[in-house]
Point group: C2
Chain length 128, copies 2
């Protein structure tokens, strides 16, 4: 069922390059725009199909921001969270992680993961 990329194609290389060159979560539309530079004529459907394959291969991971469509980034970075600027909408990586989040779960529940998103104003928007 072709759920693996068995061939090394131009478009896959261009899509991976977009993620490597931009170390923050990207929307499919961003990936399409960035990868199109290296691979003119690239179709948006190919971006979606490739992202899905890369997720299955654990090369990418999904970054879900409440109320927004999913973004994706390379999974080769240490554990971190995200900050979204309410002014410009951009998303930044936030290193580190609050300790013992699992302690907040109800008794008897097993926690194996979490997502944390901070909101506010980025340094740039605060200056402007």
């Amino acid at each position: 069922m072709a759920l693996q990329l068995e061939r090394a194609t131009q478009q896959r290389a261009a899509i991976l390059a977009a993620f490597r060159e931009h170390p923050h979560p990207l929307l499919p539309a961003d990936v399409h725009a960035l990868a199109s530079v290296h691979c003119p004529g690239l179709g948006i459907a190919t971006v979606y199909r490739t992202i899905k394959v890369l997720l299955a291969e654990a090369v990418l991971e999904t970054v879900n921001l409440p109320g927004e469509s999913a973004r994706y980034e390379l999974k080769d970075r240490p554990h971190h969270h995200h900050f979204q600027c309410r002014a410009c909408g951009r998303v930044f990586d936030v290193p580190g992680c609050p300790p013992s989040l699992a302690a907040y779960a109800p008794p008897g529940f097993a926690v194996d993961g979490h997502e944390l998103t901070l909101y506010g104003r980025c340094a740039e928007c605060l200056r402007g």
Copy 2:
């Protein structure tokens, strides 16, 4: 404008009743189905429009689950977060909140809010 409920209509009463009678986060489609019982012919567009107004009035709040469409619940509860069971998919409220989350933002950034979701197995699924 019209970001306030200036008129008490049947359909708005029916929509609020659906939330009061159902202490879970509801999808717009759920609200439509539930409120239609008390208000036949209710349009889905009205549900969306009313939810938006109630959010602006801080009567409702959004519950975002990664990869799923937004749900809504009455905002009459204290600050809390959510736990989603990876086995049964249900969402539970988690009281409390890790302290000083703002400290994790990059220097120069201003934090004014956050969302936290824990994942794992609920007590029931762990037993089963």
